[in-house]
Amino acid sequence: MTWENARIDKAKEIIEMYPQKRSALGPLLYLAQDKDGYISDDSIVEISRLIGITEVQVQSVASFYSMYKQEPTGKYLLSVCKSISCEISNSSNVIQKVKEFTNLSNNETDDEGLFTYESVECIGACGGAPAIQVNYETVEGLTPEKAVDLCKWLKEEQPKVVVADELQLKFGGTKSFDWAIEDKTGSSSPVPGFQTYEMQEEI
């Protein structure tokens, strides 16, 4: 499956933003993953052609970074933090419960393609530990029970856009700081919802 024209146009637009083409490699890998859920072989060929570097060079970069996924990712990527502030706030219990509910081990995706589970390093939510990200939207001040409720809700509702504020209100607790600003934006795929790449939508 090669890239459709709209995606190629978007890619060219991104390349234009940088003084040197190769700088667009990271953003183009996100563009690949947004549609396919992972970095497919076809995307590697396409990106190498667009930027003018070899396929191996693209693959070498893609495999270095943990957010570029080598295998198809579920609709919702569940990333539970296990770094120090979360660790000493019993994140291991949250991890255990989420794993039990989804029946997944680290970096596994379920058969339905709904959830991918991963335990991750610090996501910058230490004041609201323990914390989780769903498609890189942060929920802070979790309990093991609330984490399971969150997974259940995702499974039942299957929201098109994951919005941090909505999840925080429903399932979160203590926050790292007052979020203050009302925000209805979120992510519509297992990549960071960021508007340059049009991966962000409003509910």
Binding site: L25, G26, I84, A129, I181
Partner: protein, 430 residues
Amino acid sequence: MKETILLTKHMRENPEDSHLLKSYEKNGGYKGVKKVLKSGTPESVLEEIKSSNIRGRGGAGFPTGVKWGFLAEDQERYLVINADESEPGTFKDRILLERDPHQLIEGMIITCFAANISKAFIYIRGEYAKPARRVQSAVEQAYEKGYLGKNIFGSSMDLDIVVHLGAGAYICGEETALLNSLEGRRGEPRLKPPFFPAVKGLYNKPTLVNNVETISSVPWIMNNSGKDYASLGVEGSTGTRIFSLSGHINNPGNYEIEMGSSFGEFVESLGKGVRNEKSIKAYIPGGASAPWLRGDQLDVKMTIDDVANEGSMLGSGAVVMMDEDTNLLFAAKSLVSFFAHESCGQCTPCREGTTWLENILDRIASGRGRASDIDLLLDVCDNISPGLTWPPKMTTICPLGPSATASIVSLMKDFRSEVEVLLPKKVVVS
């Protein structure tokens, strides 16, 4: 003890819309840059920054004015904002990005004016999706108003800003790894020399790499003066600093304070004390890379130099408090696993050493420790960072490997018995 509010003033006074240009401007924003563009010179800006004595807020604490002064002459120079905040315990840049992005943009414009730069990047860690959206939207608002782009504010200055997302690699917070990443390469640190960013940075051109908090401080300094800024805090640690407080604390969060109070006062007063009235067993004074201090060292002053004198570092300003019930072996294991996961793999002592450390701690934690494991741990640490001193001696290109040894050395120095009880006794053959 009270906070001193400079950087977080606008977001506190206008909590609901502090991210919007109209709100920022209505409350005195973009006044500093207008003044600079109208009547300032690059030299006068540099002078103010130098006299403020502000030191970089990313972790290394290098004097910002000196760094700017190092920037080599070239037709093509760049500013890169390091918003790859990933040091465990740190979430101060997140609040600045989310709630006051225009303060950063104004700081960037002033910086680029002082350094004659017309292209700048904000490298935000990939996991900060929401902060990145806020910053991107702020950049777009600034373009619409003519505050970015060609002839900004009607002056002869041009400036473009690109918001770039990282992809989950802590090592990209190291400035040369960040530049590699921004060039579309693996985030592997470069050798210094020759790749000092100020001389050979992005695309081999002179590049300023500065932390979000550092550049967000620039508008205040220009609105007031370097001298005013230097009058806050203490000598060597001037101005205010945002500390991220987390762990077993009643009131965790970001606090903007003048440096110079003690950690104990900070925890009692702003942190509202330790949870469940417990006592502190150990704490991390400056992010995961910093050696721990003990609970009986809470009277240490929160300045760059005081913490360094205790054999640790103020680092990124991340304070993690661990109470008397904390299993410090598990804490160290979490920290070491972090570095093992984030090692870029270039240098053997770090790539192999961090994995060894992780494996040994794992087996001790699961009850399979060996009598010789403590010696082995320290031996591996010594191979990564000879002499186990702080600041560390380096066998590696960047400080990631040596940082992984900090928690183990702290654990063995001050809390060795907690590990020893888990190990079988050494057999003495007579």
